[in-house]
Amino acid sequence: MLEEDVNMAKFKTSKTKEEPRINTASLPDIIFILLFFFMVSVSMRQNNLMVRIKLPQATQVQKLEKKSLVSYIYIGQPIDRALYGTNARIQLNDSYATVKDIPEFVAKARQARNEAVRSLITFSLKVDQNTRMGIVTDVKQELRKANALKINYSCRKELNPKQ
């Protein structure tokens, strides 16, 4: 036993050679980079929804580009129906609103943006599919009065159009 040890120190014998280990010290770094990538690329939902929204389906949808230039208007039944009833309500930012609040909302959305891009702001209407058009028409009229003409009816893409 002892003799062999002495031998090993002098000559490298292939049969006692240990298998080299892969250095995993940098693995956490790689994973962290992935993690940061996802954290940056994924946008957190900005608004806490207070209305129930199931978007209608459509086939001819386009992607909404430049998310920084989009302001959302939510219309649907309140989630807490016991407290707020079942009539469709408008949600702007984080609270319920009425049609009268829309001009102010539009003005604030414009103020928050650079002057050069103000005319490009899109107002995305996220409306529940069972809402009646009355309230939607009112909102659209208010938007027209506020001269916010570019709107987007938010829809889900219909995957299997029945044709």
Partner: protein, 193 residues
């Protein structure tokens, strides 16, 4: 006392921790792409009494009542047949009084005059119409216009509209096929509250 080197921290599990975080983020966040139908609202008329005179034959009237039933030019119709109706209505028939009037328009990019229809889709809905139905109709109208754009792109460039890479060409097609949809000033039609 023998001097001991600082014990090495085992970093092997660090990757697992980071993986857990990564999976947590992957699961909780949704890469939702917003999709929808983009439309430009007409500006408010400056003069309320001002009425735009459009000839009857130039308008395809689409009415939706509070029971989500549709009338196209006074006759019941389904959403399914609407795109074909619109494409047919917007096609160019210079000498047929059953179709809208035509006009000539000079398109600089093509270097010549092109016949364009004066047709217009008038969409009118009730306050009681469901949003679902309204989107269905908007979708059908969008489908018709997209198909007309494809046709025009095929005719002039031999490609579909989506395949055109040059934004200038897209502009020309958009000029050739303007989305002529008018949404009437809201009023109560068909018994909604």
């Amino acid at each position: 006392m023998a001097r001991r080197g600082a014990p090495e921290i085992n970093a092997g599990s660090m990757a697992d921790i980071a993986f857990l975080l990564l999976i947590f983020f992957l699961v909780t966040t949704t890469m939702n792409v917003d999709t929808g139908i983009t439309r430009i609202l007409p500006p408010l008329p400056k003069n309320k009494n001002e009425k735009v005179d459009v000839k009857e034959r130039n308008v395809l009237k689409v009415l939706i009542n509070s029971h989500d039933l549709m009338l196209v030019n006074g006759k019941p119709a389904t959403v399914k047949e609407l795109p074909d109706r619109i494409i047919d209505f917007m096609s160019i028939h210079p000498n047929n009084p059953a179709y809208p009037q035509v006009r000539e328009k000079f398109i600089p990019a093509l270097g010549r005059k092109v016949l364009m229809t004066k047709g217009l889709i008038s969409l009118k809905n009730d306050r009681g119409t469901s949003y679902k139905m309204y989107i269905k109709v908007q979708d059908a109208i969008a489908k018709a216009f997209n198909e007309m754009k494809d046709q025009a792109a095929m005719k002039y460039y031999g490609l579909k509209y989506d395949q055109l890479l040059d934004p200038e060409k897209k502009k020309v097609i958009n000029e050739l096929v303007p989305i002529r949809v008018s949404e009437a000033e809201p009023e109560n039609v068909g018994g909604g509250r």
